[in-house]
């Protein structure tokens, strides 16, 4: 199992979007939750809505938030990143609020939502996911800001990316140029 299949390689290219690098993993997990939350909410609302209406509506809301986060993280434009920050924040607030609510008032939740008990039914991934999402997005926001103040041209941004590779620093400053241009337009 552990035999090397290929020589170790440095991270081949710097992430050039929120969907690459660690973002690839984030988008995959978000997509998984988007799919499972929508399917679950859909089945519950269609087949037994009266049983636990609050829980099912919250499940549906969670599904919408996950879909929004998945799409915006995958798109990765400056505008999409802003929406992604918003949806991850709503998600984190939702997990904390619904988690607390479900523990304080179990009668309202005869059936579980994705966010019940802080997402314990899903291995607490719903609690951890928005934190990683926000950290990942913050790195991009900071990078964009740094690039805007220190880099004066697209060529310089390219050099910054190269030096990042040389130091083996994963996920450094590669997307600066594009970001400066894109941010400038908005």
């Amino acid at each position: 199992m552990s035999e090397p299949m290929a020589p170790p390689e440095p991270t081949a290219s710097q992430p050039d979007s929120t969907r690459t690098g660690p973002g690839r993993l984030l988008v995959a997990i978000y997509a998984l939750f988007a799919l499972s939350a929508s399917a679950r909410a859909g089945v519950q609302i269609v087949t037994k809505f009266g049983h636990a209406p609050v829980a099912y509506l919250l499940s549906a809301f969670a599904a919408v938030v996950y879909i929004l986060a998945t799409v915006t993280l995958a798109v990765g434009s400056p505008t999409a990143r802003r929406i992604a920050v918003l949806s991850c924040s709503v998600e984190l607030a939702g997990v904390l609020a619904v988690g607390t609510w479900s523990l304080a008032d179990p009668a309202t939740f005869p059936d579980a939502t994705v966010w019940s008990s802080y997402g314990s039914g899903y291995g607490f991934v719903p609690l951890v996911l928005p934190v990683f999402g926000l950290l990942w997005l913050r790195r991009w926001t900071r990078r964009a800001r740094t690039q805007r103040t220190t880099v004066t041209s697209a060529e310089d941004a390219g050099e910054a990316a190269d030096s990042g590779v040389a130091h083996g620093e994963s996920g450094a400053s590669g997307q600066g140029a594009e970001d400066v241009v894109a941010d400038g337009r908005i």
Binding site: M1, S2, P4, M5, A6, P8, E9, P10, T11, A12, S13, P15, T20, G21, P22, G23, R24, L25, V27, A28, I29, A31, L32, L35, S36, A39, V43, V46, T47, S170
Partner: protein, 162 residues
């Protein structure tokens, strides 16, 4: 939901003892054993194999991520093996459904039957687009998800042994 004796497909003589409307006293064909076995059941074997394979794939893929490896052919082959196992499992469950058995949550089960084989395929495509260590990380998620899905399938329909 009907209360007929288990339509056994010759898949190891398993009998569902957990359907609430089917007491154990229901007449059954002589062929069928009443012992709930994990060993003789093909279902149980396939489910267990998928769980082990999924976890092993996840471990291997995470190791690749830790060692800074990119997606490669052996990892893709492992994903292919997992996919085949999942398709076999789906086939077995569909055979049970065609045989007339029904779980309580039929809609949920059908959703799982559609989604389950898509997981490794989607992960392989998404992982292949990534030219860094995070490609195998996506595959690791698929392996874990496959294992979790088997446990969930068992919860949805206890006929599916783990």
């Amino acid at each position: 939901m009907s209360c007929e004796p288990g339509h056994d497909q010759g898949l190891g003589g398993e009998v569902n003892l957990e359907l609430p409307h089917c007491p154990a006293s229901t007449a059954r064909p002589a062929l069928v054993t009443t012992k709930r076995s994990n060993i003789s059941g093909v279902n149980g074997a396939v489910t267990t194999t998928i769980i082990v394979a999924g976890l092993a794939l996840a471990g291997y893929a995470l190791l690749m991520t830790a060692l800074n490896r990119r997606m490669n052919v052996p990892l893709l082959a492992a994903v292919g093996v997992l996919e085949i196992l999942l398709l076999v499992q789906v086939g077995i469950i569909v055979a049970k459904l065609v045989g007339g058995e029904r779980p309580a949550g039929l809609a949920t089960l059908i959703g799982y039957l559609i989604a389950t084989p898509l997981v490794p395929v989607a992960a392989a495509f998404w992982g292949l687009m990534e030219r860094s260590r995070w490609g195998p990380a996506v595959i690791a998620v698929a392996g874990l998800v496959a294992a979790v899905l088997m446990v969930r399938l068992h919860q949805i329909w206890p006929v599916i042994h783990v």
